[in-house]
């Protein structure tokens, strides 16, 4: 599992990372699978004491509204639990990508959050299983069940608590990306010379494939969920909202127009929003280099990285990075990055040379452009 390649230091050299990875695996994979096993054993043990048909579905008010064979729970709950545990492997994708680049694996809050959320979901599912089974023990007829608020509330509370604990028990390890970049050299300007760089951030084919697949999966899920009887308004809402979010993100990030001039840096979605603006006076230094969105940011789009950088990263390849006097480092994938970096470094230098204008606001009426 932990084979190393020559680029990365051996795991012994990174004891923190090892600890963090083991903790994440326990929280996100081992415990959820354990819960599935325990839940299955308990249900099997209780099977002779359950009514048939038993209640297998509750509405939001804790009223039983669906009945079926006790075997239903024996299939549905373990399946759901194992699916949740499988989400742990999505975090390993980043690792596999990370090994393919210099700088090795990154680690940060995201790496703790994903397993913790998985644990929360697994705890919620298995407690739902145990609670709904326990309240029906030795009932002659499941239809005699009183409305029980514990059914909707308890699993939610247990899930949230478990997720919180799952996050906190993991060690606080932060390993930032080691990136190779070279400084952008400011242009030699004549006294009355002005420079502007204009370009755009386009998407890669990979990004379109990934977003397209996500949309197809979500549409399929929506059709499936909408077909469930009795109706599941909560599930329908969750899937619809996810669908809208993915759709909006895909469309908004299709193209960003980038403008670098004496006011600083501006990247605006072709729809005008969202926009990222950094005034020239706020820019500390500019670099050009290779950018690996998946390894550094865990994906494409407008993202926040594990080690606290903000990025508009749409493909692997050349781009610029610049650090700010206040705020996060910015990473942007653009073509002709060298010219862009030169223009930005020039703008930053000129802004510093301008007397008495600390952090010139970018309210210089930039509206009206379409």
């Amino acid at each position: 599992m932990t084979d190393t390649d020559p680029v990365q230091p051996a795991p012994e050299a990174q004891p923190d990372l090892q600890r963090a990875r083991v903790a994440a695996r326990i929280v996100g994979l081992v415990v959820p699978v354990g819960l599935v096993i325990v839940g299955t054993i308990v249900t099997l043990a209780w099977l002779p004491r359950l009514p048939n048909p038993m209640a297998v579905h509750w509405n939001g008010a804790g009223v039983a509204d669906g009945f079926g064979s006790p075997a239903v729970g024996l299939i549905v709950f373990p399946l759901a639990g194992l699916l949740i545990a499988a989400t742990y492997f999505s975090t390993r994708l980043q690792y596999l990508q990370g090994r393919a680049r210099p700088g090795g694996e990154l680690w940060g809050p995201i790496n703790r959050l994903i397993p913790a959320i998985g644990l929360g979901a697994a705890a919620a599912i298995s407690s739902l299983n145990i609670i709904t089974t326990a309240i029906q023990l030795d009932l002659p007829d499941a239809r005699q069940l009183e409305p029980n608020l514990a059914v909707p509330l308890m699993p939610a509370i247990i899930g949230i608590v478990a997720a919180g604990l799952g996050y906190l028990v993991q060690p606080r390890v932060r390993i930032a990306a080691a990136t190779e970049a070279e400084a952008g050299n400011p242009l030699e300007l004549a006294p009355a010379e002005r420079v502007a760089w204009i370009g755009s951030i386009g998407v890669s084919r990979t990004y379109l494939w990934v977003m397209g697949s996500a949309l197809i999966v979500l549409v399929a899920s929506l059709i499936l969920v909408a077909g469930i009887r009795p109706a599941e308004p909560v599930a329908i809402t969750i899937v619809s909202v996810s669908l809208l979010v993915v759709l909006a993100l895909t469309v908004l990030c299709m193209r960003f127009n980038v403008q670098i001039d004496d006011r600083g840096f501006e990247a605006r979605s072709f729809l005008g929003w969202p926009a990222l603006r950094v005034p020239a006076a706020d820019i500390a230094d500019v670099e050009v280099g290779e950018i690996h969105p998946f390894a550094e940011f865990g994906g494409w789009g407008w993202r926040l990285s594990v080690d606290g950088k903000v990025g508009i990263v749409m493909r692997t390849g050349e781009g610029i990075r610049f650090s700010r006097r206040q705020g996060r480092q910015v990473v942007v994938t653009i073509d002709d990055a060298e010219s862009a970096a030169a223009a930005l470094a020039t703008a930053a230098r000129e802004a510093r040379a301008r007397p008495g204008e600390p952090g010139e606001p970018d309210e210089k009426d930039r509206k009206g452009t379409k």
Partner: protein, 138 residues
């Protein structure tokens, strides 16, 4: 694309913009089919009048390097590919000229007045180029 303009330079601003864009095209940074930014945006970035930018675009259209279409803006034509190919040869020529002690200005004048058929360009007499001492010494 990188645009540099110098107000102190005697070359007109619109020509300087056209020069910048042409250089990007020749360097292969602006490929055929790429749309140039809206004139308004470029004018805003450089803090100049929109008409100056439009004039630069018209200049490039007259050179058949861009197409100006309603609704599509300025789009780089396929002549860009030719320019990329030629720019290598131009570089070689400049290098050879400098080895021979001929300045770029002189070379440019030669190019301007060069006529494939050997006849002077219509409406103006060719300017005979004489090399002064300091030019050959460069």
């Amino acid at each position: 694309m990188l645009i540099r303009i110098d107000e102190a330079n005697e070359r007109a601003i619109y020509e300087q913009i056209a020069d910048s864009i042409r250089a990007d095209i020749a360097a292969g940074k602006l490929r055929a089919g790429t749309a140039l930014p809206a004139a308004k945006r470029l004018a805003d970035a450089l803090n100049i009048n929109v008409h100056t930018v439009l004039r630069a675009y018209q200049q490039l259209r007259d050179e058949r390097l861009v197409d100006l279409r309603r609704g599509r803006g300025a789009v780089v034509t396929s002549l860009a590919n030719t320019l990329v190919e030629l720019s290598g040869e131009v570089r070689e020529l400049v290098e050879r000229a400098s080895q021979l002690g001929v300045s770029q200005v002189t070379l440019a004048a030669l190019v301007v007045h060069a006529d494939p058929d050997g006849a002077p360009p219509a409406g103006r007499a060719p300017i005979p180029l004489t090399f002064s001492q300091e030019q050959t010494a460069a």
